[in-house]
Symmetry: C2
Subunit: 213 residues, 2 copies
């Protein structure tokens, strides 16, 4: 409200409000009021923002766990079948499918970004009125959301195909043979969708925190 005068903290901003009130009410001494405000409790908006920041941090850690688990499960999945034809041995691993490689890369990138974003999230808790960090988090959370959603959906499409095949195009279902590969890959996809869900909540939370400025 009087950003025009001070820096970017609303801790500073609340003070002139008290001045206005006191000068309106009965010409009381503004410096005294200012001192009590500086030493006293934080304004309600800051408390609310701090709460959002703490939820943000917790959700961020959960999203790190989800995407890390998805990437790890996908990266360690590998199954050889005990029989082979004259052409090649049947084996399935994530790098036989370009889509699964993309899935692994996408989840790993999101996981790395989320780890790097933790300090910014902590800054938003310590200084609830810093707008720059919150805005930065929102923009990159949106991009991470898009990347993770892309990786998860593409992998889900291939997993669906592996489970059901497509008779119209002569694509056989794999999961009858690869009975260990398919559940692990499906689990990785579920973990990735969980990460997407958390990132969506993070974007909306950041927007709500920005709104209260």
């Amino acid at each position: 409200m009087d950003l025009s005068r001070s820096g970017k903290d609303t801790g500073d901003i609340a003070i002139p409000v008290r001045e206005v009130k006191s000068s309106k009410s009965g010409k009381g001494a503004p410096p005294v009021v200012t001192t009590t405000t500086r030493l006293g409790q934080t304004p309600p908006a800051a408390g609310w923002k701090r709460g959002v920041g703490i939820i943000d941090l917790i959700l961020r850690v959960c999203a790190i766990a989800a995407t890390l688990a998805a990437a790890a499960v996908m990266g360690t999945t590998d199954q050889n079948l005990p029989f082979f034809t004259q052409f090649f041995q049947f084996q399935a691993s994530y790098d036989d499918f370009p889509t699964f490689t993309f899935f692994l890369a996408g989840n790993a990138i999101t996981c790395a970004y989320l780890v790097l974003s933790l300090p910014f999230s902590i800054v938003c808790i310590v200084r609830p009125h810093v707008i720059g960090a919150r805005m930065l988090l929102l923009i990159f959370d949106t991009l991470a959301l898009a990347l993770t959603m892309s990786a998860a959906s593409a992998a889900a499409a291939i997993v669906y195909l592996a489970h059901n095949g497509n008779p119209n195009t002569n694509w056989p279902a794999l999961c009858q043979q690869f009975n260990e590969f398919c559940p692990r890959v499906s689990g990785a996809v579920v973990g990735s969708f969980l990460g997407v869900l958390i990132l969506t909540v993070l974007v909306v939370l950041s927007a709500a925190a920005l709104r209260r400025n």
Copy 2:
């Protein structure tokens, strides 16, 4: 600027700032200052927000065009091959692939949502300080972004497979035969990704507009 009288607008907030300044400078008459503010030009924040609102509206129309084109191209793609085996005639249409059906539905839903969101976008231009409509748009834009990204990525995974096949899993490439089907489907996927790009910009723009409250 008479918005300030109608309720929750920042127009109310801007007025005491002038009062503070004037009472500090030389105890000038605050009511006069207030009156000129009410009748005068809009504050810079409102003009900035109105500009964002207009860009928002234009981008929204572009996104409607992109998703509608993607859905329409996918829905009208159908190709029969001039030869057939003893089993079935070779034909490809979007409803042979569950993923393409999902693509069509996802893009159609996003397109319908975007059309329905146009009035809210116009409200944000006419009354730049209404926070509710802006927040609503941001939340649903994020969800639409996730849905469209999901549809586009899943379809892209299948299109990639149709172009290249997967020798490890005996999934043959289709696009040698279906030389008309594949380019059309690829075009639809590109249109959908364009929609995703626009929606990402819309989310960031909405967040920037919320920030300036």
